[in-house]
Chain length 159, copies 2
């Protein structure tokens, strides 16, 4: 199985990972959420090769997760900004960060803490049900075949 084939899987996790599931992309997006916008900043903060960075940024632009916006003429220079599609990856990064805080932080504690300006408290994120608002326990979630899968299986045996 080649990496590009992952995108064809009828699975939203696989499809998402086909874009962000490599070594660097989520680190680039983490930096975006911290305000980084320019090529050199990404390169210094993340420490990946310029070659790879070019690649990844282009891919993110192709998929409309970032967009290039000129910030000067002569010579033209662009910065990379999150689109709405990109901003909506925030929960992925925050849940990763929370897991890292809980399981990888060592005895010094988490490197970063978060404050929720809306309520004024030091906070952490929780995954909640959109309907009842309760925190989600994996055992209480039942996956069922959705329209995407049904459409596929109908194409497979067309009557």
């Amino acid at each position: 199985m080649k990496w590009d084939d992952i995108q064809e899987m009828p699975c939203s996790v696989a499809r998402a990972l086909s874009i962000v599931g490599d070594r660097w992309t989520l680190l680039i997006l983490r930096d975006c959420f911290m305000g980084t916008k320019r090529f050199d900043k990404f390169q210094k903060q993340i420490g990946l090769s310029r070659h790879r960075l070019t690649d990844r940024l282009n891919k993110l632009v192709d998929y409309e997760i970032l967009r290039k916006a000129p910030y000067q003429e002569k010579p033209v220079r662009h910065e990379y900004r999150l689109t709405r599609k990109g901003v909506e990856l925030y929960p992925v990064l925050m849940t990763l960060a929370k897991w890292g805080d809980n399981w990888m932080a060592g005895e010094d504690g988490p490197p970063i803490e978060y404050f929720h300006t809306t309520c004024g408290h030091k906070t952490s994120v929780e995954l909640c049900c959109s309907e009842c608002g309760e925190e989600i326990n994996p055992k209480e979630m039942i996956p069922k075949m959705g329209p995407g899968l049904r459409a596929l299986s109908e194409k497979a045996r067309p009557k």
Copy 2:
């Protein structure tokens, strides 16, 4: 920057990605949450090479995200089960799935839908503040230096 160095970064996202940030690991864990436990099942469902699968499963066992449990003697066969540390990656997978549903599903709609047995509704997941319960908007979250980073900067200039 080599991939193994990522783990040393004072960033919980980077540390988490040093374990789960490769092409296959999160797909393996997705299958775990769907109930897959055995080598051959993983291999067939994901389509990665046996070699890679061996590697990734061992890594997940080393990091105590999965553990091996014997399910027969003669010959001894093991299955792979999520530990608590592993189960706590559920929010990462669900936020990825939600993003994939929203942005990668095509016109047939999401392949899988979820039902929350606790409240009985078809649901999707939301990221909420642990303190006030409101849904989180990235702009309302302020990152501040935490104890992990402070400890580091004190080691850097000892007095």
